[in-house]
Amino acid sequence: MSKPLSVLEEKRKEAKSRLEKNGYFSDTKIYVGMATCEIAAGSVPVMEVFQNELKNEKNIYISQKGCAGRCNLEPTVEIYQKDKEPVKYIQVTPEKAREIIKKHIKSGKIITEWVGK
């Protein structure tokens, strides 16, 4: 009986459609690190900046994420844009976040000096 696997396949389809509804497949995706360590380094106000300043934007998906393990570079923010390589900003502050929105998200200009290598 292949029941559980097929049940899960159904669930995966449902999950996908829910994600879709929430904008998961937008052209721009922003991931802000929100683990304890990231929060300690100041990621909550950074998240707030992205959420507040982009709340009227369509086709942008903002999500939290766990810690990838790069403690001394936190808070980190990744920007995925369709057909482009992801960009990781490190040691992001609210001020930097605003700049990132202005230059990178809205004008497509990566701020290379803030990008982790």
Partner: protein, 168 residues
């Protein structure tokens, strides 16, 4: 004062309700630590009265409860200050100078580890690693983590909190 008494009654009632729920489950005794967490959350610390209440409600001897409460660092047996400072003494923090931070705080606040200032403003504890090693040395004041501390930085933070209190 009446408001305080009323408040205590309310706290006791919440603890009782919480225990009543626990007692419906399997092996209720095993939830003692859960209940003590809840009681501390509601009451601020584990007072004798609160532990007595837990004992009567859960049918666990007070000596057992006292044994458990004194075994675990997390349980506070005395009222704690408005600002509860936990200095992380994890290895990463230690290697990067956590003991200097602790010494500075002792001097600045005039209290030792586990103590509370007379004005009930600050309590100080040593914490095990709070998992912010990248920012070592760190301290947690209530829920907020302060990283990359230096003796000067921590003194400034304390003074800032003091000022805030004065202006209130």
């Amino acid at each position: 004062m009446t408001s305080h008494i009323h408040n205590q009654e309310e706290i006791n009632k919440q603890i009782k309700d919480f225990i009543a729920e626990i007692l419906k489950q399997d092996r209720p005794d095993s939830h003692l630590i859960t209940v003590l967490h809840k009681a501390q959350e509601l009451n601020g610390y584990l007072s004798r009265e609160v532990m007595d209440l837990v004992s009567q409600e859960m049918n666990i001897p007070t000596s057992t409860i006292w044994g458990v409460a004194t075994f675990y660092h997390y349980f506070k047996l005395n009222p704690i200050g408005k600002y509860n400072i936990s200095v992380c003494m994890g290895t990463a923090c230690y290697v990067k100078g956590a003991s200097e931070i602790l010494e500075t705080l002792k001097e600045e606040l005039g209290i030792g580890v586990g103590e509370t200032t007379e004005d009930m403003l600050f309590s100080m504890h040593e914490a095990r690693c709070i998992g912010a090693c990248g920012l070592a040395p760190v301290a947690m004041i209530n829920d907020k983590i302060y990283g990359e501390l230096t003796p000067k930085k921590i003194t400034d933070i304390i003074n800032k909190l003091r000022k805030e209190e004065e202006t209130k």
